[in-house]
């Protein structure tokens, strides 16, 4: 029997959010926006996969998977996964408003974002069955409100949804804008 079989709520995932975009966009800007966002929010960003395929004559398929981690407190950490895939991607040259030319990408873009609140990330409370049960009790009864009402909420609204809104803004989508920008707190 593994500890995960009886520990309640060892982690709490957020809902995945998606962006699908078809048109002209700046891929470099998308990467930089993601990296910069996580740097500002004190996350450590890791690129777990970068794959390039050319399955047909219509353009390249690039897949990027990023994992960002932030150890918020001793007991819990936030993990955010960003998966990007492009389809039919090819370079185009566009003329900007000031008349300068710039290379951008044209094709389809698919982005998936989701986060997880993970408790006891150093597995200190899984060294014995007694400690594991204690952790289970702690998660289920003592910190449950804080866990699902504060830690999860902050991850979802301040990190995942905010990055979602930021990417929409960079892609200049019609639905850009973040309604929860004044969500409690100043950061």
């Amino acid at each position: 029997m593994k500890p995960d079989d009886f520990i309640h709520l060892p982690e709490m995932p957020t809902f995945p959010v998606y962006i699908q975009y078809k048109g002209i966009f700046d891929m470099q800007d998308v990467y930089e926006t993601i990296a910069d966002f996580f740097r500002q929010k004190k996350f450590k960003l890791q690129e777990s996969q970068h794959r390039l395929r050319r399955p047909g004559p219509f353009g390249a398929e690039i897949a990027n998977n990023f994992i960002a981690r932030r150890k918020v407190e001793d007991y819990y950490q936030w993990i955010v996964n960003v998966n990007i895939e492009t389809f039919d991607l090819h370079d185009v040259e566009v003329v900007l408003k000031d008349g300068t030319k710039k290379k951008m990408a044209k094709g389809r873009l698919w982005i998936q974002l989701y986060g997880t609140v993970e408790t006891d990330y150093e597995k200190i409370w899984e060294k014995s069955a007694f400690l594991a049960h204690l952790k289970s009790f702690y998660n289920k009864y003592i910190i449950k409100k804080k866990y699902e009402g504060v830690w999860w909420d902050e991850l979802y609204y301040k990190i995942v949804m905010r990055l979602h809104a930021l990417l929409k803004e960079r892609l200049k989508m019609v639905s850009e804008g973040f309604e929860h920008r004044h969500f409690a707190g100043v950061h």
């Binding site: 809902f15 959010v17 998606y18 962006i19 699908q20 975009y21 078809k22 048109g23 002209i24 609204y157 949804m161 979602h164 929409k168 892609l171 989508m173 019609v174 639905s175 850009e176 804008g177 309604e179 929860h180």
Partner: protein, 175 residues
């Protein structure tokens, strides 16, 4: 997912004309946020086509009413051939989106969202008894509240789209 009951089925708004799509979407989000709903974004798609932009935007916010029951309101916005057009607003020239919008709203009530009453057939049976007979008055009242919220949202959207310039009757708030 616990027992999901459709309370509002496909309330639909079809609109063609000038509209600020970004403001409309933010207004919907804000409306639901103010009423205590948590946001869940299902779809946010945009395609640049030859005739303009096509968008598909769907949210399904939820709100826990008790430890047994929660509301879901699904709002789906489809936009066809959205292009920017010049308009005059308050004497100033501005650009605004123009196109066709289809907005579909559904309201759901989810019973027993923690799945505590569906582990055994006997519990499932008791849950049905509880919902339909013992708790009936409360269940109906919760339904009225959800219908009221959805009607209020539809009224807000219609006002935003300027579909009528008069006061309209919205459903009465549950006591």
């Amino acid at each position: 997912m616990g027992h999901l009951k459709i309370v509002v089925d496909h309330e639909k708004i079809d609109y063609s004309g000038p509209v600020s799509v970004g403001d409309l979407l933010r207004m919907i989000e804000n409306f639901l946020w103010e009423r205590g709903f948590d946001k869940k974004q299902d779809k946010d798609f945009e395609q640049n086509t030859a005739n303009g932009k096509f968008i598909e935007w769907q949210i399904m916010p939820w709100k826990k009413i008790s430890d047994y029951l929660r509301y879901h309101i699904k709002v789906r916005v489809l936009g066809y051939d959205i292009v920017k057009a010049d308009t005059v607003s308050n004497g100033k020239k501005t650009k605004i989106d123009t196109g066709r919008l289809i907005i579909v709203i559904d309201g759901f009530m989810e019973y027993d969202y923690d799945h505590r009453w569906e582990e055994k057939p006997i519990l499932y049976f008791f849950r049905a008894l509880y919902d339909n007979f013992i708790f009936k008055a409360y269940t109906e009242r919760f339904e009225h509240m959800l219908v009221h919220d959805v009607n209020h949202l539809v009224d807000h959207i219609e006002k935003f789209l300027n579909l009528y310039r008069r006061y309209s009757v919205i459903s009465r708030a549950a006591p």
